[in-house]
């Protein structure tokens, strides 16, 4: 966090809903932020290199593109196995996000989260089965929570 200065933060705020669809989008951002367009591009380049920005590009809406089965798969993995399990599941190309989150037993023993997206229920089930195979005995149980409704989805808000 400390690597971001006020201008970086202003760039984040100015771009969190996306770049404007105009010929010179970084110029438009620069005007809002109050710096030079070259500075905006150089700073975004630096944030990308530092990993603060993971990528710059189109953010597709899976659901609108026909991926109606968006499953949050959650896995009960022992704390001692979580790094190994995360490396295995995070490496699967069909997993869009993979996180370690704290468990809250007894209702919520699950500590590894992996998001999957499929056009059909059968395809989603096959992806879950593939994760289960990859994890093998590292998983002590799992659940798949499909989203039945997207109530709100916007970009980052700060």
């Amino acid at each position: 966090m400390s690597i971001l200065d006020d201008i970086d933060r202003a760039i984040v705020r100015a771009t969190q809903d996306g770049l404007p669809l105009v010929e010179r989008p970084y110029h438009a951002v620069a005007e809002v932020v109050g710096t030079a367009p070259e500075d905006v591009m150089a700073r975004m380049e630096r944030l990308l290199a530092a990993g603060v920005i993971r990528r710059i590009g189109l953010v597709p809406n899976h659901y609108a593109l026909g991926y109606r089965f968006n499953g949050m798969t959650v896995w009960d993995v022992a704390d001692t196995d979580i790094s190994e399990a995360g490396r295995l599941v995070g490496g699967l190309d069909f997993v869009s996000h993979c996180y370690h989150r704290p468990r809250h037993p007894p209702e919520w023993p699950y500590s590894l989260f992996a998001m999957i997206h499929a056009r059909e229920r059968d395809a989603a089930d096959a992806l879950v089965a593939e994760i289960a195979t990859v994890l093998g005995s590292l998983s002590r149980g799992h659940l798949v929570l499909f989203s039945s409704r997207i109530l709100k989805k916007t970009g980052l808000r700060v």
């Binding site: 010929e23 590009g57 189109l58 989150r101």
Partner: protein, 149 residues
Amino acid sequence: MDTLDRRLLNEFQQDFPLVARPYAAVAERLGVDEAEVLDRLARLSRGGMVSRVGAVFRPHAVGGSTLAALAVPPDELERIAALVSSYCEVNHNYQREHRLNLWFVVTAPSAEAVQAVLADIAARTDLDVLDLPLVEHFHIDLGFDLKWS
């Protein structure tokens, strides 16, 4: 959606050009002109197929965030879902098939501000909020390969 739309969606999820006229650079790679790319992106955005064109930030790189869940009684779901969505700090809110049926992401300038939102939601809904902050992320998000049937 035609081939060009699909190429736009699949080939430009990362490495979007950091140059003065990035849409012209994209157009050049696709062999079309800049106006065509801008028109198509505007149409895909309006149609909801593209959420945005821009940067995807690493979680917690800027401010704090958490994933939270509520077990909402079914007859209260509409009201409470709307209440949760009404917070500008809530950027994702999904109904999911589980006793914990409302899952949302809270993002705010600081970890304290995130906790304040959770406390406020707990107070206003009279429900326990399950707070599942990220401990570690394992996947480097390089986009998602959209497979067309």
